[in-house]
Symmetry: C2
Subunit: 285 residues, 2 copies
Amino acid sequence: MVYGAGAAGGVSSDKPFSEDGRVSEHPFDVDTSAAPVEPGLFRADLTDRWTTANKTPNGGYLTALLLRTLGTTMPVTDPLTCSVSFLKPGSPGEAQIRTSTLRSGRSITTGQATLEQNGVPIAHLVGSFIDRDASSGRTETFAQPPSLPPVDQCIDPDPSTIFEGMSILERAEYRLATPPGWALGKPSGSPSGEFWMRLEGGRPVDAYALSFMVDGYAPAVLELGEVNPATLQLTIYIHATPAPGWLACRHSTRFVRDGYHDENFELWDADGNLVAESHQFALLM
Amino acid sequence: MVYGAGAAGGVSSDKPFSEDGRVSEHPFDVDTSAAPVEPGLFRADLTDRWTTANKTPNGGYLTALLLRTLGTTMPVTDPLTCSVSFLKPGSPGEAQIRTSTLRSGRSITTGQATLEQNGVPIAHLVGSFIDRDASSGRTETFAQPPSLPPVDQCIDPDPSTIFEGMSILERAEYRLATPPGWALGKPSGSPSGEFWMRLEGGRPVDAYALSFMVDGYAPAVLELGEVNPATLQLTIYIHATPAPGWLACRHSTRFVRDGYHDENFELWDADGNLVAESHQFALLM
C-alpha cells in the first residue's frame, strides 16, 4: 500500500520526505496529511501512531496536522508562529479540520484551524505564515545552544522499555549524555534537561516537523516524579528551517501552581542556530 | 463626569478598583470596558491614552480589553491563559468586539474575541478561564525573582522625558536600580532588564491588569539600539492574583532573526510569587 499525499488524496507538501519524486510513506508525512473536502473543510485520520501515556494522540502531532493543513490554504506558506488550545482529548479515528483566514497582510497571513471529532472541537490553532525567502533583517542570538557530547558519544534512552503502549516513542529518536533520573526511577527534582532529537529514521526536519518536535519528548515534570501532564496551550515561534542532522534540545519547567505548569522548549540545529522555541501550559493529571 | 462600567453601560468587573462601591474612573477600568450590544457583540472605544511610539494603541491594552470583555461571557471568570494575534494596527476610536465560546469544559472554558475597526480585524484573542478558588494542587517554583533594591531606593526613569507623545507612559509607573542604557542614549547591547512596575496611581493589579503589564514597558530590544518593534503574537500565562504592591519584573530578548524576535516577560509579586509570564513575537520596524 502506498501512503501519502497522492494516494490518500491529501494536501501536497512543499517539501516531501522523498527527493526522488516518490510519495513519502513516512508516518509524519502520511499522518499530517488531510484531504480537502470543500473550501475550508478537510478530512483527516488521526492514527494510533502518536499515542501518549494518556492513550490519546499527542498534542504536537495534532499541531503539525493543523498547521500543515492551514498552510495549504495560505498565500504564503512558511509557518512563523502558531498557538494552539487543546480543548478535549482526541481519539484515533476520523476527524474534520475547518480553516479560515483571519487576515492576509502585506507580508504576514494569519489563519485559524479547528480540529473536530463527531462535531466536538478538539483543538484550535491560530497560525501566521510568511515567505521566508523574502525576509531579511537583523539577526543575533543572546543565548547558547545546549552543551551536549557528540551524538555518537551519547546513549539511546529507548523509553519504550520504560513506557509500554506509547506508540509516539517510535516516532522520534533521542540521545542523551546520561540517563535521565525519571528513566532510572529516581526523578532528579530538577525539571530541566538537554538532549538530541530527530524524527524516526532521520527524516529531514521542516517547519511542520518542528511544530511536532517541541512537544515530542518526555515532559520536564517527569523529573518531579509526575507523569501524564495534559497540554492546555502551546505557542511556537519558528525561526528557520534547520540544517540537516540531529537537533540539540533544551527543555525546562520553571513553575508549578495548583498543578498548572509551564514547559519551555528550544531546538537548535547543527549550525548552532535556534530554529524553534515553544512555551506550553499544562496540567498535572 | 463619572466614567466606568455603570455610566458608560460597559461590562461589569468582578474586582472594581474602588472598594467603596463607587464606579472606578481609573483609565484602566474605563478604557478596558466594552458595552454589550447583543450576545457575542460589544462596542468599545479605543482611547488615545495608550499610544506607543508607533502612534497606535498598545498591544497590552488591547489584550486587556479583549480578555476582560471575553471574561464577561464565560461561566468561570479567572483568566488562565491567553494568546493574541495582532493583525493590523488599531487607531483611537470606535471598535467592535465579537466573542464566541470554543469549548466549555468541566473546569476550563475557552473562548475567542476579535477586535474590529471599520469591519477590519485588528486583533484576535483566544483565552481560557477557570474558577481559581476551585483550583488546588502541587505548587513549586524553579526560578528566582528579580534581584532589585527596594522600591524607595530605586530611581524613577520618567521615560516621558525621553519619548514625547507616548500617552502610554502615563498609564504605569516604573522604578529601576540604575538608568537603562537606552535612556542614556547608550544602549547596552544586552537586551534584558529588571525593574519595578505598577499601574498609574497604584491601582490594584488584577488578572486583567497583568495582561496589560506584560506589554507595558519599553521593549528589551531598545538595548540593541532598536526602536519601535511591532508585536505580532503575545501569549500570557496567569498564575495568581498578585499580593498588593509593586511588581518585580524581568524581561529579555533571546534571539533576533530577520528582524523577528522574542520578548519574554515575568511579573513577581511582593510575596515572591511568579504571578504572570508572557512570551511575545515581534518585528523590528
